[in-house]
Amino acid sequence: MLSERRLHALSLFSFFVLWQLIAQILQYPSLPSPIAVAASLWHHLVSGDLLYSLGITLLRVLIAFFIAMLIGTACGILMGRYRTADNALDGILVLGLNIPALVTIILCYIWFGLIEAAAITAVAINKIPTVVVTVREGARAVDHKLLEVADAFHLAWQRKLMRVYLPQLYPYLMAAARSGLALIWKIVLVVELLGRSNGIGFQLGTFFQFFDITSILAYTFAFAAVVLLVEGIIMRPIDNRISRWRN
């Protein structure tokens, strides 16, 4: 039996081999081989433009992510806890869930101008509704019997929040954060393509104009590597820590 990890590596390796074979047989200029992509990746890495763009994009992702999580969590708890808030905001929530990302981006750029704040706002607005939906679910599922324990023993509100209330929301916050990052990565690129003059999205746009497929793929893989890294060194350890008690 293969271990899970080996199977993972094997499937990825086969994918690259297959790709290399097809590229060699077809010899299309629009399908560069993985080796050419790797060379291009190295070139962009050494010249510095890749790291610079990656840094800019990561920063935008980070800021938009925290804003979306903060506002989304607050609204989610509010709506999960209070029926009135739920009724009042539900219509807007459904609207927010269904507005295409592109529309929000265009409107933000038109209304606020082609500035950084408009870009971040557009990304955050796209993400907030899905955070709200997930966290609201969690807030609805909160066990009131445990909150009663906190009240019976007169716990200070900070302690009640941190040790009794929020731990019940952690799985939901984690799910929101995971899906949130995945979505925000994608939207940030579009935002950069449409209205910023730096970042991965902007670079991809430039490569597109020159039909530089090799560079596009090189950037894509660099990006994918960062996503995997974030999952491995940030998300998974946090996840393990907060769900330790389940094992």
Partner: protein, 267 residues
């Protein structure tokens, strides 16, 4: 020092319209150990919730040391609460669960350890509740309630579903804690023998909506045990004279049920 006076003409649950309590009136003097006995659905847990300040939606008043509980922003008593289920935080270890209620007190770790020692769970301090048996979880809940050094101890069938030797030992722990700190205790049980063994007074409640149908003073000397013949005798007599009392029904001559200690009351 916690004196309680309860006067609740009516308690109705807003959610389902059920009237849980009606014309309930009794008082408990400080340091007294009172057992509430009654059929299920008599509102015993509701009474504890009200005394503990968890439920404020009722007609009437609860006075704690002559203060109206409803008007207090924080509960005047230092409460130890044992719920019907253990209600431990599954994400906290056993010792963290006990420490949780010791809000920032400087000796919280050593106190929590001491409490776990009392319920014989020192070896499981770093376990999570999910790794413990139901009985062990109950013991953690007891340790948590005792840890606060309560002056008002509210207990909702705390020893149910424990094996008898463990229950016996924990009753002993409860009594030594009570003798050391003299908290006012309100102890809900449906086990009359247990009530007679532990309490100074047993309050019998009617079937729903709950009201007090009888108050039995027990002046049998301590220490008592479940096996004492005097307790057994008293139990037999209560059951003989009021065979339906545990179903919340009484026949007329209530006065006939009187507790006996060394001296037998004549009527």
């Amino acid at each position: 020092m916690i004196n309680l006076a309860i006067n609740i003409p009516r308690k109705q649950f807003a959610s389902n319209g059920i009237v849980a309590l009606r014309n309930l009136e009794f008082s408990i003097t400080s340091g007294e150990f009172v057992a509430l006995v009654g059929p299920s659905g008599a509102g015993k847990s509701t009474i504890l919730n009200i005394i503990g300040g968890l439920d404020r939606d009722y007609d009437g008043d609860v006075l704690i040391n002559d203060q109206t509980l409803r008007d207090c922003s924080t509960h005047p008593a230092r409460i130890g609460y044992v719920f019907q289920e253990p209600r431990l935080m599954p994400w906290l270890t056993v010792i963290q669960n006990v420490e949780l209620v010791l809000d920032g007190e400087h000796d919280q770790r050593s106190r929590a350890r001491e409490m776990l020692e009392q319920v014989e769970l020192t070896g499981r301090a770093e376990s999570y509740p999910g790794q413990l048996s139901g009985g062990m979880q109950r013991r953690v809940a007891l340790a948590r309630a005792f840890a606060t050094r309560p002056n008002l101890l509210l207990m909702d069938e705390p020893f149910v579903s424990l094996d008898e030797p463990t229950a016996q030992r924990l009753r002993g722990n409860l009594l030594s804690l009570w003798q050391a700190l003299r908290p006012t205790v309100v102890f809900v049980t449906h086990n009359l023998l247990e009530a007679l063994t532990l309490a100074d007074h047993v309050l019998f409640l009617s079937a729903s909506p709950g009201t007090m149908i009888h108050r039995l003073a027990i002046d049998i000397e301590r220490p008592r045990s479940l096996q004492d013949p005097t307790i057994g005798e008293l139990y037999q007599r209560v059951m003989r004279e009021q065979p339906e009392i545990l179903s919340g029904l009484v026949t007329d001559n209530l006065e006939s049920v009187q507790a006996t200690g060394q001296k037998r009351n004549t009527r």
